[in-house]
């Protein structure tokens, strides 16, 4: 556990150090930061928004803000990733508020696994089902569930990102998981879990 915390701190320091190098004019630092951070931010935005094009825009905007704030960045005050996740979360919230909510019934059903000969197609169907279920959650629950269970962040860090208390994060993730279970309850057989269990 201690080792894990030290590793996370070292990672955070490495990103802050890269940002300082970028601010000092090192062009290689920008590429290293982009390679490290873009997949995480894009993945999160896509899970929350359910739309790749919008997720790309949000990711680009968040990193643009990072490049601009680099000369003023003060190491030790905040983790670069926490700051970025917060920017992405706020950008996603803004976009979600502008949308008209879509009930789960209107979300496309996952592809019928009976037509899929390959495991890869079934995996795709499962991910589509998960995304459809995520899309049906209220915005804050979806953000909390994605940050906790897919991005793998700890509750205190999620609390900073979502600007709520740790207890609120626990409540959001618990309610989110219950809602996901309910949304996926009737799709277990369609997603092939029963086949694996029995076969």
């Amino acid at each position: 556990m201690v080792m894990q915390i030290e590793t996370e701190d070292q990672t955070a320091d490495a990103e802050a150090a890269l940002l300082q190098r970028y601010a000092a004019g090192d062009p290689a630092a920008a590429r290293l930061l982009a390679v490290r951070l873009t997949p995480r931010l894009f993945g999160h935005a896509q899970r929350v928004l359910g739309d790749a094009a919008e997720a790309e825009d949000v990711t680009q905007e968040a990193l643009l803000r990072l490049w601009r704030i680099a000369p003023e960045w003060r190491s030790g005050e905040a983790k670069v990733t926490t700051w970025l996740y917060r920017v992405v979360a706020n950008l996603c919230t803004d976009r979600l508020r502008k949308r008209v909510s879509t009930p789960l019934d209107e979300v496309a059903e996952p592809a019928d696994p009976a037509l899929s000969a390959h495991q890869r197609l079934q995996d795709t169907a499962r991910m589509d089902a998960l995304q459809a279920a995520l899309d049906s959650l209220p915005d804050r629950q979806r953000q909390a569930v994605v940050l906790r269970h897919i991005d793998g962040l700890a509750n205190p860090e999620i609390a900073v990102i979502l600007e709520v208390g740790v207890e609120a994060v626990e409540s959001l993730t618990a309610r989110g998981k219950r809602a996901l279970s309910a949304a996926l309850a009737g799709k277990r057989e369609a997603l092939g879990y029963d086949d694996e269990q029995h076969g």
Binding site: Y22, G25, P27, A30, R31, L33, A34, V35, T38, P39, R40, F42, G43, Q46, R47, A52, A55, E56, T59, Q60, L63, L64, W67, R68, A70, P71, E72, R74, D123, R126, M127, A129, L130, H149, I150, G152, K177, L180, S181, L184, A185, G186, R188, E189, L191, Y193
Partner: protein
């Protein structure tokens, strides 16, 4: 058909695990746009306002700088127009520069008159 709690937790965890194992990948076009932004932001020289903002940030932000300005103004005002009971050092210095008659001034209390001979 409803799954019981244990089944749903296991099923959900399996889905989460699969999602973690296969994250959505950003396109090459996105990476190119991000690098173009980074290069442009890095190459852009800081304007006067940006440099001023950076300086204010290094001094501790708006509240700290406003406190610094207030303290400076107060200090200046106390020097120019001291309240009763405080020596009028600014006035005495100005008088001393224009008029060499500095006897019986408060400056003598610091021994500066002795150093001057």
């Amino acid at each position: 058909m409803m799954m019981n709690n244990m089944d749903s937790d296991n099923g959900l965890e399996a889905l989460f695990e699969q999602a973690r194992a296969h994250p959505p990948r950003p396109s090459e076009a996105l990476m190119a746009r991000i690098m173009a932004d980074a290069t442009a932001a890095q190459a852009q020289p800081l304007g006067f306002v940006d440099r001023l903002r950076a300086l204010l940030h290094k001094l501790g932000g708006g509240p700290a700088v406003s406190g610094l300005i207030t303290a400076s103004c107060l200090g200046f005002w106390l020097g120019v127009a001291p309240p009763d009971g405080l020596p009028d050092l600014a006035g005495q210095l100005l008088v001393q520069q224009s008029d060499t008659a500095y006897e019986a001034t408060d400056l003598a209390g610091f021994g500066w008159d002795q150093d001057e001979g």
